[in-house]
Each structure stands twice: as C-alpha cells, then as structure tokens.
C-alpha cells in the first residue's frame, strides 16, 4: 500500500517526456473537453444527462473546429507571406 502511494506521489515530481511533435497537439483535446463540460455545467438551467452530454459535445466540436480553422488560416498566412 505504501509502495503504491509512494509511486503515485513520485509521478508528480518528475515530468513526463513529451516531444515537440504534431501528435502532442492532441493533448489539447482533453482540455477542450474539460472547458466544454465545465462551461455547460455553469450555464444549463435544466439538468438532464442527455441534454448536458449533447450541449457539451456541440461546444466541444465547435471549439475543435474553430481551432482547426484558425490553424489552417495561420498556416496559409505563413505560406503566402514567409513562404
């Protein structure tokens, strides 16, 4: 038991190795999910599981699509200006 607790605590004092790779951008997705869920938890007046999941999923998709469009836009600007 103490070994388990120690190993869990030890994982919070040494960073995880994450390279500067395109795949590391996927770490944005859990954070977007948290933002969508917390925002909807503060906004919804009537709380049913189905409506909450639906609203959160729509917000999650909206943020994700907007971020992808922003990335594509920035990429195109860089291509046309810097080359």
């Amino acid at each position: 038991m103490i070994m388990h607790v120690t190993s869990i605590l030890a994982s919070f004092v040494s960073p995880v190795d994450i390279g500067t790779t395109p795949q590391s951008l996927l770490l944005a997705l859990p954070l977007i999910a948290v933002i969508a869920v917390v925002y909807k938890a503060t906004k919804l007046e009537e709380f049913t599981f189905a409506s909450f999941v639906k609203e959160s999923a729509i917000l999650f998709g909206s943020i994700s699509v907007f971020m992808i469009l922003a990335a594509v836009g920035l990429y195109l600007v860089m291509q046309f200006t810097v080359g």
Partner: protein
Amino acid sequence: MADKSSGVFRLGSLPLLFLVGFAGWWVPGLGHLIIGKKASAAIIFGSILSAIFVGLWISSIAVIDTHEPWYWAQLFNSPLIALLSYLNGEVCHCSVFGRPREIGQIYTGVAGMLNLLCVVNAVYLAHKMHSAKESE
C-alpha cells in the same frame, strides 16, 4: 433548486455570497454544492481536478512557480496551490522545461481560470436565489 427555507439561505446576502465564493475557491464545485446544485458541483469538481492532476502529472509540481505569471491563474484553482509551490521550493526542488512545462502550465492555468468562472457563477446564482427569496 435548493430549499430556500433552510440552511445557508438563512444567512444575510453578503455573508452568503462570501461563503459561496470562498468555498468555491478552496474546493472547486463547493460553491455550487452550497447553493444546492449538486450535479453541477460534481461535474465541476471532477473536471477541474482532472485538469489539475493531468497538468501536474505531465509537468510535475515544478510547474507551480511563483515567479511565473501563470502562477496567478493557477492560484485560482485553490489556495492549496500555494502549498504545492512551497513544497516544490523547500522540499522537492524539481524543475521542468520545454513542452511538458508548456502543457502543464496551460492545463493548470486554464483549470484555474475555469474555477474562477465557476466561483463567479456560484456567487451570481446565490445572489439570484437570495433575491428571489427576499421578494417572496
């Protein structure tokens, strides 16, 4: 909707708002729990704590750095963040650089800003409920 005739709603407006805001700052979701929004409280608690723990797991507690502007956003998670900062400075002496540091800062900082949103929302809802009770 909470039972307005019992519990904390007997408090005056200002102490109630202060209690809800302060509780929501110390423990994410506790402000909503006090005003009777149990589902919102559970979701806020789970989501914000998940973001904090993922951020700390990725970058270690070294990401709680009082010399960084991100620290003020992280502090909105809970005053206990200051304890982590103390532990890192006096006990652990950890350090983190590069991409893990960036991701940890973003996760813990955004979680703090989300908790600030929840605190403001809980105080607003408490004020609304208190006003509705007084107008009855």
